[in-house]
């Protein structure tokens, strides 16, 4: 007897981003789905490992922002060793913040300068031979030089705090394993220009001006590109300030109404659900209060600047005020404004780095604390691309028994689909085919949220991307790769 075996999800496309677009009877876009292989198995293979290994183990999830995983894991372990939020020594807390803000600086610089700026400087339909960072180096030398050094500065901060630029060991349960020496600090504060924190602040400020200039010249395109209403979620400091390292969970809707009111993330399971859909390995998180249909949300720079009330550093706050004024104080729902938000955050990160370097606690020697042990801990952090959840349970023998991770890309899962659907709607309109223009725009939309998917990092200009178009009967009618 014949048997049909179906293995789902069937969408593993190694090294490629894959998008499927489904049309209705009238040939209009009914649905778009973004597929990505985010199946890493980490939640399974950390089981049985000693809990103190977690921060070093889980950061291997990612080579671009390992610090986020390292710190989210460490924060969960702080709770487990009884040194939860606010209880670390000042030196440990500030060293961790320094590491994280260094990470924000380097990741945002990479995201904007190396990956996104070619789209904005040359236009979405420019020849891929020009629309890449080498093209930027040729025509906008100044911008490329600054991008490279801003990133390097952030990476050197990571190295000074974690021991290595990638996959270090700085954060340990209940603290940190090193503080800065005065020489390490002065390297960042007092090196001759350009490699010092004051120059980085200047350059980060210039990057915001650059985006604003591009925006002034292309307002229509930038404002209308994948503009869709959604909820927004992030951590905010208790007083409503932007904070990348720690805070309470807040969500607002597309109109700015608070739909999650500054709750303690240790209880995140009360507020956040995760839906499994057959076509994707990636789960779909949603706010339980609003349900699976309406509860999806965006995370990342746009979301953070929509949820927070202010930015606690003067230059970034000034830019924030201008940014907020553009939407009349309402949440900003424009996909490409994520670059604007990202650059304001980069400026903030540079300002915070300077404050931390000037804080004597950063040289302190009280590094680790120990409290009453617990068997469960949750650690959240605002990673460059958005809120990152780490949740663990351990047994009496100090071995991990359960891990649940919700990474930024997963949080943005529905937002990708939405952005791609809008782009497809605009571009398909009547002609059931995949054009070069559509491919380019799908790429730009994905890149606005996340350049660090395997598909998005592998190539510049030429992002390995596959788009498939299906008619109402579910038949494949076009497929294009780039």
């Amino acid at each position: 007897m014949a048997r049909k075996i179906t293995i789902e999800p069937v969408t593993r496309v190694e090294g490629h981003g894959k998008v499927t677009i489904h049309l209705d009877d009238q040939g209009r876009v009914a649905q778009a789905r973004f597929h990505v292989v985010e199946f890493r198995g980490f939640e399974r293979f950390v089981q049985g490992r000693p809990y103190w290994e977690i921060p070093v183990l889980v950061q291997r999830l990612c080579g671009i922002c390992p610090v986020s995983h390292h710190l989210a894991g460490a924060k969960a372990m702080d709770v487990i060793v009884g040194v939860g939020p606010g209880k670390l020594t000042p030196t440990a807390e500030k060293m961790r913040r320094l590491m994280h803000y260094g990470q924000m600086l380097q990741s945002h610089a990479l995201h904007f300068f190396h990956l996104a700026s070619p789209d904005l400087l040359f236009g979405f339909d420019a020849d891929p031979k020009v629309r890449n960072i080498i093209g930027v180096a040729k025509t906008h030398k100044d911008i490329a030089v600054k991008g490279v050094l801003l990133r390097k500065f952030g990476q050197e901060i990571i190295k000074a705090t974690a021991g290595k630029k990638i996959h270090g060991t700085g954060a340990i349960p209940g603290g940190i394993n090193k503080s800065l020496t005065p020489e390490e600090r002065d390297y960042f504060l007092k090196s001759p220009a350009p490699f010092n924190v004051d120059t980085m602040i200047e350059w980060a400020q210039e990057a915001v001006q650059l985006f604003k200039k591009i925006h002034r010249e292309n307002r229509e395109v930038i404002d209308n590109f994948a503009h869709f209403p959604s909820n927004h979620l992030s951590l905010v400091r208790k007083d409503g300030a932007l904070d990348f390292y720690h805070g309470v969970l807040r969500a607002v809707d597309a109109e700015g109404r608070k739909i999650l009111n500054d709750v303690d993330y240790q209880d995140y399971l009360e507020y956040i659900g995760e839906e499994v859909r057959t076509y994707s390995y990636m789960k779909f998180p949603y706010l339980k209060k609003l349900g699976k249909e309406k509860g999806w949300y965006r995370v990342g720079p746009i979301a953070r600047l929509n949820t927070c009330d202010f930015i606690p550093s003067p230059r970034a706050q000034k830019e924030f005020e201008e940014y907020k004024a553009y939407t009349g104080g309402k949440p900003n729902n424009m996909t490409l404004h994520s670059h604007w938000a990202r650059l304001i955050e980069m400026l903030h990160a540079a300002e915070v780095i300077k404050d931390l370097l000037n804080d004597p606690d950063i040289l302190g020697d009280k590094l680790v604390k120990k409290g009453r042990k617990k068997h469960e801990g949750v650690g959240l952090i605002e990673a460059p691309r958005g809120t990152l959840f780490h949740h663990y349970r351990i047994n009496e023998d100090d071995q991990v028994t359960m891990a649940n991770l919700i990474v930024s890309t997963t949080n943005n899962n529905q937002a990708y689909n939405e952005a791609v659907r809008l782009v497809a709607e605009t571009f398909i309109a009547g002609k059931p085919e995949i054009t070069e223009g559509l491919l380019n725009r799908v790429e730009v939309a994905i890149r606005a949220y996340d350049p660090c998917l395997s598909c998005a990092t592998h190539a510049l200009g030429q992002m390995p991307l596959e788009v498939e178009l299906y008619n109402a009967e579910g038949q494949l009618i076009d497929r294009k790769r780039k």
């Binding site: 040729k138 990092t457 592998h458």
Partner: protein
């Protein structure tokens, strides 16, 4: 990209890599800055890095490529005996060149 900054700090740069196709035991050649487009963030040809060094930092170090011929390129494979010989010869050559 960051390698261009690194290149700019030196007068002479030798890039060593494995060679998939070409003559054994190794190829040693001077390379010129060139805009090469078939690149990814994970691999940028030395010519392109030299180009960036020149265009971004105004420096023009002498850049050489020491490409050592290998034969099997699978994850987890060791060196083939032939590749090992090539490596040894290349290493001897390298030591002589820099001394």
């Amino acid at each position: 990209m960051e390698d261009a900054l690194l290149f700019s700090e030196f007068q002479k740069v030798i890039v060593v890599d494995a060679l998939k196709k070409g003559s054994a035991p190794f190829v040693f050649k001077k390379i010129r800055p060139q805009k090469k487009f078939t690149f990814t963030t994970h691999a940028l040809p030395a010519e392109a890095v030299a180009y960036l060094t020149k265009s971004l930092y105004g420096r023009n170090p002498e850049v050489y490529l020491l490409a050592i011929r290998g034969y099997e390129f699978e994850v987890g494979e060791g060196l083939t005996p032939a590749a090992r010989q090539n490596l040894e010869q290349a290493l001897a050559f390298f030591k002589e060149t820099i001394s």
